[in-house]
């Protein structure tokens, strides 16, 4: 038997944009559409082909192979086609072109807790969820104790899960999923559940799966998890496979290239309210140390925030700055370009013109995670010219940050490189 367990050849998946945007197309729409096509046909005696503008290729021309026992990482930005790829591999949706050859039973964890019913007890949900994930009843019964043990919810196993805390719910859900034993496992971001302690356990479980010689396809935004769990990774970009390499190389490539759009925000004329005048924001962008626009930055490198704007009339006392928040909306810091007394004196009166205010966030400050930047241009206690609470979002990757040799989360918003000394007294 061949060593290849998954072979993907020229795979493509095309969606109709209409089907994506107007999800609940009604019979009436279809009838209108049908009759207009009919009229068009009578008039031109032939139908035009499908309008390419109405279709979008979520994946195109993807080919790769995964060998038995290999753990392959799949990385890419949101919308790069990762989820579509996993959905095709796990048979949820059909490809539009190309083919996939799979040798062995596929188990997919696209989301934990699929099919959990809030009214049913933990015990009942283990059986239901197990059956949905494709386990036999005898198999679930055999692993039942192990699952309960892993989930740490023994005491509440006969309580309806709607009374569970969200942490308990996720732990139970992951516990069932983790005991699935397919030859090929397809995993999407499920490790991002639960508290630090539980995450550690989940990562351990993933490692076990790999060591048992089963094939794993692992999709994640968590680069350190990708580095730790996979030997090789593929990088997807706009539905294309742009790279396949050893994981460190692939992660490097992903972190340092081609993600400009996310790290930059332009404002069009219409988006700027009229009361902002004479202040006219143009763009805000996040730059790495080489000056590239990025949406994923390394914790170990400095980043520069640049805000470009124009003044059509002079403003006295203007301050231009930003708020940095975590994705969970915890404030991290606020800073303005005229915070320093010296700067404030120099720019008390800002003349009309085209400006860029830049500031650098030093290396070794932020912990890994997702952050958002809001911008504000105002004069103290007089007027707020412009504000956008969520101008851009970005990810911080902690590879190489202090403490990364320990495979566990470092709680906290910041992750500075602190000086330690050890003295024998």
């Amino acid at each position: 038997m061949s060593k290849v367990s998954v072979r993907v050849e020229q795979l493509g998946k095309c969606y109709r944009i209409g089907a994506l945007t107007q999800r609940h197309d009604t019979l009436r729409d279809q009838l209108v559409d049908f009759s207009s096509r009919l009229v068009g046909r009578l008039r031109r005696r032939r139908t035009a082909g499908p309008d390419p503008a109405n279709y979008v290729w979520a994946l195109r021309d993807i080919s790769f192979e995964v060998e038995r026992g290999q753990v392959l990482g799949v990385i890419g930005r949101n919308g790069a086609g990762k989820s579509t790829l996993l959905k095709i591999l796990s048979r949820i949706t059909d490809p539009t072109e190309g083919s996939v050859t799979i040798r062995g039973r596929v188990g997919s964890l696209l989301e934990v807790g699929t099919g959990f019913h809030p009214e049913l007890t933990g015990r009942e949900n283990i059986f239901l969820n197990g059956a949905i994930l494709g386990m036999k009843r005898t198999e679930i019964a055999r692993k039942f104790d192990e699952i309960v043990d892993f989930s740490e919810v023994e005491k509440f196993i006969d309580t309806p899960v709607k009374r569970y805390s969200s942490g308990m719910y996720l732990r139970l859900a992951f516990a069932v999923a983790a005991h699935l034993e397919p030859e090929i496992l397809v995993v999407d971001e499920v490790l991002a559940v639960g508290d630090a302690e539980f995450q550690k356990k989940c990562l351990g479980k993933m490692g076990d799966v790999a060591q048992q010689g089963r094939t794993v396809l692992f999709v994640s935004h968590n680069m350190s998890a990708v580095l730790r769990l996979t030997q090789e990774a593929i990088v997807l970009e706009k539905g294309q496979l742009v790279m396949r390499a050893l994981s460190p190389e692939a992660v490097d490539f992903y972190l340092s290239s081609g993600h400009a759009r996310m790290g930059e925000r332009f404002w069009t004329e219409e988006e700027v309210p009229s009361q902002a005048a004479p202040f006219r924001p143009i763009a805000v962008r996040l730059l790495d140390k080489k000056g590239n626009v990025v949406d994923t930055v390394r914790s170990t490198e400095p980043i520069t925030l640049e805000w470009e704007y124009r003044l059509s009339a002079p403003i006295t006392g203007l301050r231009v700055g930003f708020y940095l928040n975590t994705a969970r909306a915890e404030a991290v810091l606020t800073s303005f370009d005229t915070d320093e007394a010296g700067m404030f004196e120099q720019y008390t009166n800002r003349a009309p013109g085209h400006y860029a205010s830049r500031c650098t966030i030093p290396a070794d400050i932020l912990n890994q995670g997702r952050y958002s930047i809001g911008v504000n241009a105002s004069t103290y206690h007089v007027k707020r010219y412009f504000q956008d609470e969520q101008a851009i979002e970005f990810n911080v990757d902690a590879s190489g940050a202090p403490g990364m040799q320990w495979h566990e989360p470092h709680p906290g918003v910041i992750r500075p490189r602190l000086e330690w000394s050890i003295d024998q007294i």
Binding site: D25, T26, K87, D94, S99, T114, K136
Partner: protein, 282 residues
């Protein structure tokens, strides 16, 4: 042909764009029978949770309906029954298969949309969902059947060996619900209009079935056969015959069975054809 191409070597599966008419692959349904069981079990289990009267609802609903029918139609309007059977038993015998069918159709019709989270996250033969939706009503049916026996004892109507036909008649009612339900469920994925239509379809169907009246009001033999194009007419006549000893529905039942078979096969093919896009458009 398609089928051979798909299974080249044991345990190997090839996924590629589906074209044309695929094999029905009903064997898949058998392989996933445990999931079928668990989903049905879930529906039954969840049904009366946190309802103070619990399973009593299974009895209350048909009894209340029967009382209303008996007072208004039987007593006030004097609707005639076959062989002068008391109206309460006459209507209750028909209500049992009717409610079984109506609730099965209702649940099947909305089953795919109701389980959208499963469709977009896990693979299994999609047929499992509408089929499992049918089973849950059976428990209600069995419970109210006990009430029926009580009612028959009260009116001193004796059971005959004909009751042995009931399981087949129940099966026919359920198959009718699945057959129509497959069409509705698949259409509902794309057109939510169907969801709005289902209560109306059920209501119209109710009047087209001999629940509150006797099918003998249909004048000629030939019209009887046309009437039997509604499979529920055959099922309900069958129920009255098996339990109350009214006229046997031989020819009607044959017509009904053929109609169900046609609906079921076409429904299965239609469902199979639509199935591959469910996850994308639901």
């Amino acid at each position: 042909m398609e089928k051979q191409a798909l299974k080249t070597e044991a345990g190997t599966l090839i996924l590629r764009p589906a074209r044309g008419w695929m094999a029905l692959n009903l064997l898949d349904l058998w392989k996933y029978r445990e999931l079928l069981y668990f989903l049905t079990w879930r529906d039954i289990k969840v049904r009366y949770k946190q309802a103070a009267l619990g399973v009593a609802w299974a009895i209350l609903q048909p009894i209340m309906t029967m009382i209303i029918f008996s007072v208004i139609l039987g007593y006030l309007l004097g609707v005639p029954t076959d062989n002068d059977i008391p109206y309460p038993v006459f209507s209750f015998v028909a209500l049992l298969p009717w409610q079984l069918f109506a609730s099965a159709l209702q649940r099947t019709g909305v089953s795919l949309v109701g389980n959208a989270n499963l469709l977009t996250k896990v693979y299994f033969p999609r047929l499992v969902i509408p089929v499992s939706a049918v089973g849950a009503g059976l428990v209600d049916f069995l419970i109210s059947f006990v009430v029926l026996i009580g009612l028959m004892l009260f009116y001193k109507i004796e059971l005959t060996w004909n009751v042995l036909w009931l399981p087949l008649l129940v099966l026919l009612a359920l198959l009718t619900a699945v057959a129509v339900g497959l069409w509705l469920a698949a259409l509902n994925v794309q057109y939510r209009d169907v969801q709005q239509m289902i209560p109306f379809i059920i209501q119209a169907w109710f009047y087209a079935s001999p629940v509150v009246y006797s099918s003998t009001i249909i004048p000629s033999e030939n019209w009887q056969l046309v009437y039997a194009l509604n499979p529920m007419a055959g099922v309900i006549q069958g129920f009255r015959w098996a339990l109350l000893g009214t006229q046997a529905p031989d020819a009607s039942l044959a017509v009904s069975s053929i109609v169900v078979l046609l609906l079921l096969v076409s429904g299965l093919y239609f469902f199979k054809r639509m199935e591959r896009t469910f996850a994308d458009i639901v």
